[in-house]
Amino acid sequence: MSDPAYPVTRHDYAGDAEELERLEAALEGGPKGAVAVSLIAVALLMIGWLGMYFLVFLPRGTVG
């Protein structure tokens, strides 16, 4: 089932050809912007996690 608002292939696309060209140009190399934003967000999260783990948690000593 294809929805004209969310085309799967160009044959499903109901918009005009010019808009389709712009869409194709934007997606040509993959979602680079989304990857960049995700990398920055996840990198900050991991820096925070590793910092808490190695600078706060482990120095507080053994427990069990």
């Binding site: 190399g29 680079k32 990398l39 991991m46 948690f57 053994t62 427990v63």
Partner: protein
């Protein structure tokens, strides 16, 4: 020119690899702490009758506080009750394996020792036990961290961590806060 579905798929596969790598790093860090540094969640399943705690062999009033057990282990036993710890100060040596044992006759309490990873719940009917080794000296606060009633905020004890030479148990192996100088 077609919408490059292969490029989108490749980016998702690369992102899956990144996430897989992050999970591997986190699991490795947790395993390293558990195996190499013996940092584990305190786990102890040991039952005690809260109604007769004061009559039990271990948690009678005379047996509370820090003591060197016959097998050489340093063990501190405390009762957590509304709204105090008994005793409200214990003394322990640095750089030596110590065991903290807690029980409660009333409601659920929780303890943590500030600046350390010592942290456990104290649940009626169970003995909460934590093994640890203190590396720094000082008077560490040990508050109740589980709301236990109106006096909860007053429920706080002190863990006095002293160098081994100042840890002087008496002939029976008991050490109290007043003994450490």
């Amino acid at each position: 020119m077609a919408i490059n579905e292969q490029a989108i798929l490749n980016s998702e596969l690369r992102w899956a690899a990144v996430v897989g790598g992050i999970i591997a790093v986190i699991v490795s860090a947790v395993l390293y702490a558990a195996i190499a540094m013996h940092v584990n969640p305190p786990s102890n399943r040991e039952y005690v009758d809260p109604k007769t705690l004061h009559l039990s062999a271990e948690f009678t009033e005379a047996n509370l506080g820090t003591r060197i057990d016959p097998d050489g282990r340093v063990v501190a036993r405390l009762i957590a009750t509304q709204f105090e710890f008994v005793p409200n100060c214990i003394v322990l040596p640095t750089n030596r394996e110590v065991t903290l044992r807690f029980a409660t006759p009333d409601v659920i309490h929780g303890i943590l020792v500030t600046g350390t990873n010592v942290n456990t719940m104290v649940v009626p009917g169970y003995v909460a036990q934590v093994h640890t080794q203190f590396t720094k000296t000082g008077d560490l606060l040990m508050p109740c961290h589980e709301y236990c009633g109106l006096g909860h905020t007053q429920m706080i004890a002190t863990v006095k961590v002293v160098p081994p030479e100042q840890f002087r148990p008496d002939a029976e192996g008991r050490a109290a806060c007043g003994d450490a100088r």
